[in-house]
Subunit: 378 residues, 4 copies
């Protein structure tokens, strides 16, 4: 059996999720290659060594270039802050490594374009960590749509709202600095729902018009709480979009949406039915079929179970629940099997670029107060 | 005690709701004038007589002009199809009658402007039937906002989605004909949520950008089901709006939103908390306060009860439920007491005009594919 | 058209609900007799006169016997405190009046038996105010069951929980005094769910075993808050029951169930499906069908609408909501039409007796700590 | 760092969950000993070898006695069918192994007693797989109760309902055979909710009265579907219970409860508030506080997050979701750390015995149709 050796770069919030997923994936799924947690990089050798121990990696380094250049590494897994994605990915691609990067792929669509084109040229495989589409529940939504159960999709309403910056006393961190984060809520959060909208509608967003606001304009300096520093990107944004197939859509995002802890949600209206979902109840999908007789019409709550995609690998009983890291585990399965079988992985860097392009188009529309065609961007 | 004599014109769907509300209002509320169901008009004397009997009106006529010109009538209550509102209202105003009209006030903002200016000039009182804001639950939302419990409002998301035309085989009725209905879902449904947004945000919508679609472009001719006739107005529409106070907003409406039977809903995000509501659960309001300690944050479901506005008149126990006609009954109370005490009623024709202006601005924006300032309209 | 003249005795909480229902019933329904709000009794002539004015009754009196003996009265409607039901009902029956009484019919099953037998002998019609079964939503549940959609019923779980006495500082009122109220939560609340269980299961409760507790044993004297008086009946009770058809059931009731404002609820499990309902969301019913394919199984939320029993008389659009008094209005319709057509009304005094018998059997079981057959009681 | 070597016996449904939890536990938690997946037993050497590979165990055997007798094994983990628990556990205890057993501990309370006494005598540590109490959400419920936030508990309503045998055409498997399974729904399902009730109420169940029914009396022979075989234990059961502290309770269980996929639920009523939970939404807890002002009372939905017990080890953002196997992972943490630190583990075999005793008492009560004191049993 082939071996796939992982080089993980970055061990913060999302790096840790990757590590948990790597740990459970071989037991959960019948992987088609042997997964080896091999090399781990952090900003110091000490931190790297400690994390390698925690995460079950064999080797560690304080310099990510070591990982990228190591001949034994098959996949470079990028879990660093966003502004480093580009440099690392390009270096990894140059070394002929497959690249698995967290979202958003880059700070701008232009950068994302460079990255996907480099990967294409080099013939390496790429995968972007849009893990929410790997949730069995959202895969079920996709299945329902593809089978035509709700007819032709005529409207997509999606949000990714959270409240991690709702408190104006929360100091300004890197999320609020353009150079580090690029866009605000749009880049950090809405990338997920935009990617998901294109996956579920089965069509690319073509035109957008948006509005945004930096509601909390100043925040305390984390180094000196008495000082206020400007917030450099948007707290919330809304866009009306049109997909290439004519479907209308609305995307909303906020990082100050009081009460939303994981407000990734969608309502997909078709000509024959409707699907409704929120990530805060990640194991249930609501399905309405207009073809039911009028006296028995209503939204049905489907609890995800073994009759739905991928769930049975976690548990053979329905309604027993799946967690955040389980989505990531499905993603790891796609990574390993994609490489094992030399097949394309989804969503790849090209899809990552297309998402970035929509994000930049929305930002441009907000600034220029007009409809923007996504092809104007990059 | 003063008497307020009602002349009701139109006895369809909404006229019947008025009649039920007139019947129960004097028992539910301590009205400040005696309410008399006096004169009723329908399109034939026979139908009028029958409905007068059913609805408990003393007199009836086959000609609405009789009601408008009757010296004993204090209030002309217009429940006719929308395209007749203007003519009847202007005639009633001319006779010095107070006018209570169903929404939308008129087919265009221009007409609505004529109507509110005529009423102002004549010094008569006016009231528009935006009954959903009379629901104790939505009054509670207003109270929470006004007390500052959720801080400053930074985002309003509102919908009025229904599915009464979701089936493409439903024949084309007056709703789909521009001359009879004016706008489609925007006029028929979103008038409610737009008015409600301005009421709850406490500020007028100033700028809009929208998109709309006639999804089902042809429908059977009701007179000949084998023939297909064009649908002349929009099935669904979305608008991004900005209120005068800077608050961002999104308004969505559809008459083909499968599964939505009464999808009037709002999510109001403030700097300190969030309110969430759907008319399908008209006796409950969800309230989140970000000031709760992190381990105890969450949306609280408030069941409307006697500690909330107006509820106790219907029942003295909490959570026992209020119905659609109960909202109308609160509206009737406002009508009768407004006249009894010679005080302004809300929402009046001026508010009705302002709503129509937003509707027309959205329609203009959709057509011209640009942001529109509502003052461009009328 | 025949006239049905009402004599209303008692104008507190529930008397007021009757008055509202009388006011709207003729507009809501095509009644088969003319309903006349004729005579009203209260404890003083002054209060009676005031209430007659408020409720739209023609005549009033400070002595309920006047109503009972008045030759023009067709129906005596008893809305007094529970301990007076028996005396008034027997007096009314003696005068050949039809009797419409609030629940519980009497303080004991023995009394209830006397009452129903007297009515039977006198040939007068009777109706008990178990209004919750008149809710279109619960009528829909009945319809689903009768059509066999959920198969044979194998389990009924029902509650009537409220929290009106949850605060131990709430002074002791008549509810807590055995002589005035009889049983505690069992009598005041669970009468509803027990009656409803027999209605929905379509079979009588035969055997019971229960447990109960007076959790808050002393309460302040309302005349002197520094003094504590004993609570004389149960705050909460649970019973396991068996219906005559073999179906198992569980009944729970509490007046100190923190958070339950109107916690009348049921979960009815059949061999092919399940129905779930709570009165706090009185316009929605959840329906699960095990015959759906496994990947599409789930509870469907039906919003009550015009395709369901009686709803269309209140509103012709689905999901627009029905309120507490609307249930009472359906009950009034049954009253008037029952008399107009000389047909039996449901639930009558015999059903009221059967409910009381179950209540007393549960109380006996709790005391004697054993299974009790309801026929042991009365 | 100390090593804890696991010997896993049985690799079916729940054995696989253990394996997944073993795989992720060291990454999720900072374990205080090194966890080693060492030896695995199945019914044939071939199956054992295959599963060892899948589950990441070093050694395998076709005879569970090899594991029990292996000197290197620290913990014997029993995931076999229930009827084998006793024999294996006693053998392991005899060898001085710590024992980690799935629930129910044994087929009868008597057997469970033997087991816990043997373990006590041998001084080995024991743990029973009541994993649902390890869920951060239920730990949060425990924390709220212990802090007195809902006052003194006065009522516990708990269910464990599923529908895995709702279809009468499902063939008779071991669950339905007394010799293999012991009790039916009571043993298979309600063990969880009974254990949970004692954990959450903080008191042992003392007296019970119950009722049960085998609704589907015959099922197809799995070897010959045309033949019907008798079902030997109950499909559903209900018990009224009293805890030692006086708290009332109701326990319901069913394996034919149409629509319940994971219907482990509780409603815990205290003198100051109420908690409500269902395992089908395992990451949310509803909390009501009666001390809130009346106009702001309501159930608050808490989404489990890093401010709640153990959650942050899985994800640092609130509301991101936890899954079934994550509960098991917390259990594994308790196992490893308990052994590492030589501290008692909870729930141990004594608690397992106490649960079995309640189960047998309920069964005895159903049979003898009377209240049973749990100490009558064993």
């Amino acid at each position: 059996m082939k071996k796939v050796r992982i080089g993980l770069i970055g061990t913060g919030y999302i790096g840790r999720c990757h590590a948990i997923a790597y740990a459970q994936a071989p037991t959960v799924f019948p992987l088609e290659a042997e997964l080896e947690c091999d090399y781990l990089a952090e900003i110091t050798p000490e931190l790297a060594a400690q994390k390698a121990k925690e995460f079950g990696f064999k080797r560690s380094t304080g310099d990510w270039r070591d990982v990228v250049q190591d001949p034994d590494i098959d996949v470079v897994d990028i879990c660093t802050p966003n502004f480093l994605h580009k440099e690392i990915a390009l270096a990894a691609i140059e070394q002929g490594k497959h690249v698995y990067s967290e979202k958003p792929l880059a700070l701008t669509a232009e950068d994302a374009k460079l990255m996907y084109q480099a990967a294409q040229k080099a013939g390496v495989k790429t995968l972007v960590g849009f893990n929410y589409i790997k949730n069995p529940t959202t895969q079920l939504a996709k299945e329902i749509i593809e089978r035509g159960e709700i007819g032709e999709i005529v409207h997509f309403y999606g949000t990714h709202n959270e409240d991690y910056l709702a408190d104006p006393n929360t100091p300004r961190d890197w999320h609020c600095i353009r150079e580090k984060a690029g866009l605000g809520a749009l880049g950090d959060l809405s990338a997920h729902i935009i990617q998901m909208s294109q996956y579920l509608v089965g069509s690319q967003i073509q035109r957008v018009v948006g509005d945004m606001e930096t509601v909390i304009k100043m925040r305390p300096n984390p180094q000196n709480l008495n000082e206020q520093l400007p917030v450099e990107n948007e707290d919330q944004a809304t866009a009306i979009v049109r997909f290439a197939n004519g479907c209308m859509g609305t995307i909303e995002t906020s990082r100050i949406a009081c009460g939303r802890k994981m407000g990734l949600s969608y309502v997909i209206t078709g000509t024959k039915g409707t699907i409704s979902y929120t990530q805060e109840r990640m194991a249930e999908l609501k399905l309405y079929l207009h073809t039911d007789e009028p006296a028995r019409q209503g939204f049905k709550t489907l609890l995800t179970g073994p009759h739905h995609p991928d769930y049975k690998h976690f548990c053979v009983s329905a309604g027993h629940g799946i967690g955040f890291n389980d989505q990531k585990t499905v993603e790891i399965r796609d990574l390993i099997n994609g490489i094992a079988n030399n097949q394309p992985m989804y969503p790849d860097f090209e899809e990552g670029f297309k998402v970035s392009r929509v994000l930049d188009a929305i930002a441009m529309s907000c600034q220029e107060k007009r409809w923007v065609n996504v092809e104007e961007v990059a």
